[in-house]
Amino acid sequence: MSAGGIRPARPFPEAARDTLQDAQMRRNLKHATTTIREKRLRAVAELPDWEALRTRGAELKDASLSDLAEQLLTLEAAVKRCGGQVHWARDAAEACRIVTDLAALHGAREIIKVKSISTDEIELNAALEQRGIQAIETDLAELIVQLAGDTPSHILVPAIHKNRAEIRDLFRQKLGAELLTDEPKVLAEAARLYLREKFLSTKVAVSGANFAIAESGTVCIVESEGNGRMCLTLPDVLISVMGIEKVLPQWADIAPFMQLLPRSSTAERMNPYTSFWSGVIPGDGPQEFHLVLLDNGRTDVLADEAARQTLRCIRCSACLNVCPVYERAGGHAYGSVYPGPIGAILTPQLLQLEDENANTLPWASSLCGACYDACPVKINIPEILIYLRGQITPHKSHNLENTVESIAMKTAAWIFNEPFRFEGALKLARTGQGPLVQHGAIHALPGLLGGWTSSRNLPAFPAKSFRELWREEGEV
């Protein structure tokens, strides 16, 4: 199954401990992210007005979000006007039920899918399977992940953690392909042969949506391989699952995003396939169109003014590719279909800050700020990470580690509130550190701080603090 949902099975530090052991994955990731990072910088540098475009993108999303209910109602009316049907889904279960009911109604045993992270979010593939319907991913990387029984590790490149040799072996095994080499062309051809048959024989397709235009009821999918175009045009029934934040008021609004999205995600000037469709047209394309509007926690994010900008995200994955934490720990460590910096803020918010494992994600960042610089819609991810830490900390369950940390932090704040306490604490530390110091440095510390000395030495407290030296020497 390629669907993984958004509920992490373990806390981030624990999951990362495992993924960091996978040297092959780390090499694959480093290679892939470094390459795309450099390409993106070149693609962005071509546009002299990139900063203005980013600002425009942010403004357009904010404007739509500030008026979201109205935009969605306009979208609903327009889709209906064009002969489509609209369904509102409060949560993942409701969305899955709507889609599986529709597929079952048409007697589908198999459905084809355009790569869609919102359907991964609601774990649609598993829900379909329970009803005896098999979902077939048609995006090459999603297909790889699905065949491997794996979960995606990247928003845009779900199989980024796999290399060509691993994929060749998988295709040999699962598709029965007689592959002699791991050339990209050969691998793609094997997938193409398998998928063509599915495109031509399957009657129901499921997609996500990159954007939707309220005024005309138009849905948009942006992709690179053409598999999306096939799914959107060949089957009889098309069901699109769309997060409610994807709506834009009017056609003119989409122009900046057509420049921002491809350059940020694949470092291309333009993506190869952009499909727009409004409802149904008799005799051309799917004759039934369903738009499922998915909330699943989004209205709660919207209600929080300080963190609302999270919903600007256009899922380009630029933040993943520049993130040093993502590059080392890999997407699986985040335990959600939304990995990386955006996942670290989106996942816990979608779960209303009530999932203990997801609540460790806002700390999975060194706050280096590379994600904010790369974000095409200027989401201030580091700021939201800090904001969420502040929201989560007072409510954290009181396991020993949290209690020790909380006492240490509160004591430190008490000490810092008075300079004489600070000076006294320094003197105490200097005396107390005695047995820990070897040759001017500390090599091993107990408790929580042991995490530091497991790989790093720590300088010992010097004989005198700055304030003591300043007082003594004055005129230095």
Partner: protein, 263 residues
């Protein structure tokens, strides 16, 4: 100019030589320096770790301690970025409009050392002498929040005797991230490993930066590997002159710490 030193808790406690070097440098350039002993910590560690309720009193205290300062200069891009960038957020999230006004105004008078020298004092050559092979690590907060740009490199290029060697992938975070280094030690260590590798690949005698927190991290890794490469704060290089550099334990103090750790 009358300059208030913002020494930061980490520098005060663990790296007093950096604060002294900064004071000496600013005096050498003809300025008056003042250290308000009431100052302790800007509250960054608490705020960024999630203890925002605990950080607020420290933020208010900082405002009180520096209210009357003409300019405030610190040997830390991170703490200055916190004051300038996140104090307003802290006030906003706490719903305190008076505090918001005050910290916004205070932030405009608060500078990191290298940006203060280049942008405010407009000095590119501070008359320093430091005969060593040095590589420079741009710290994340100075580079991305303060946008100090080439300021530190410009200053280093004008130091006599100094050979500046470029650090590969310099823009990559060293993995410190405050409490990130203890809460996610394995990931932090993986990031550090690459940074240490980069530093060692340059053949430099030492790595410098504008933040002792990052240098403590990088230096801790270099020292554990017994690399023989030290770390030294930018202020200490800039304060160093021909007359005092020969045999002065203070200017290369940080390097000696890591050298001793090898024994």
């Amino acid at each position: 100019m009358k300059i208030d030193l913002f020494i930061t808790c980490l520098n005060d406690a663990l790296f007093p030589q950096t604060g002294l070097a900064m004071a000496r440098l600013l005096r050498r350039l003809g300025h008056q320096v003042h250290f308000n002993e009431a100052q302790t910590c800007c509250g960054q560690m608490h705020f960024n770790t999630g203890y925002q309720r605990e950080a607020l009193p420290l933020i208010r205290k900082f405002v009180n301690d520096f209210r009357n300062a003409e300019v405030i200069v610190a040997p830390s891009g991170s703490c200055v970025a916190f004051v300038r960038d996140l104090y307003p957020k802290a006030a906003e999230w706490a719903g305190d409009d008076d505090l918001l006004r005050e910290v916004t105004e205070l932030g405009k008078r608060t500078y990191e050392l290298s940006e203060f020298l280049i942008k405010v004092l407009k000095v590119e050559d501070v008359g320093a002498y430091y005969p060593h092979r040095v590589t420079y690590h741009p710290t994340c907060h100075a580079a991305r929040l303060l946008r100090v740009g080439d300021a530190p490199l410009t200053l280093l290029k004008n130091v006599r005797g100094l050979t500046l060697v470029e650090l590969p992938a310099s823009e990559q975070c060293c993995g410190f991230g405050g409490t990130f280094s203890v809460k996610n030690p394995e990931t932090s260590t993986a990031m550090l490993a690459d940074k240490v590798q980069s530093v060692m690949s340059t053949g430099a005698e030492c790595c410098t930066a504008g933040d002792n927190s990052c240098l403590m991290h990088i230096g801790g890794g270099l020292s554990r590997l017994q690399s023989g490469v030290g770390v030294v704060h930018l202020a200490e290089i800039l304060a160093s002159t021909e007359s005092i550099s020969a045999g002065s334990s203070e200017t290369i103090g940080a390097m000696q710490v890591s050298a001793e750790a090898l024994l």
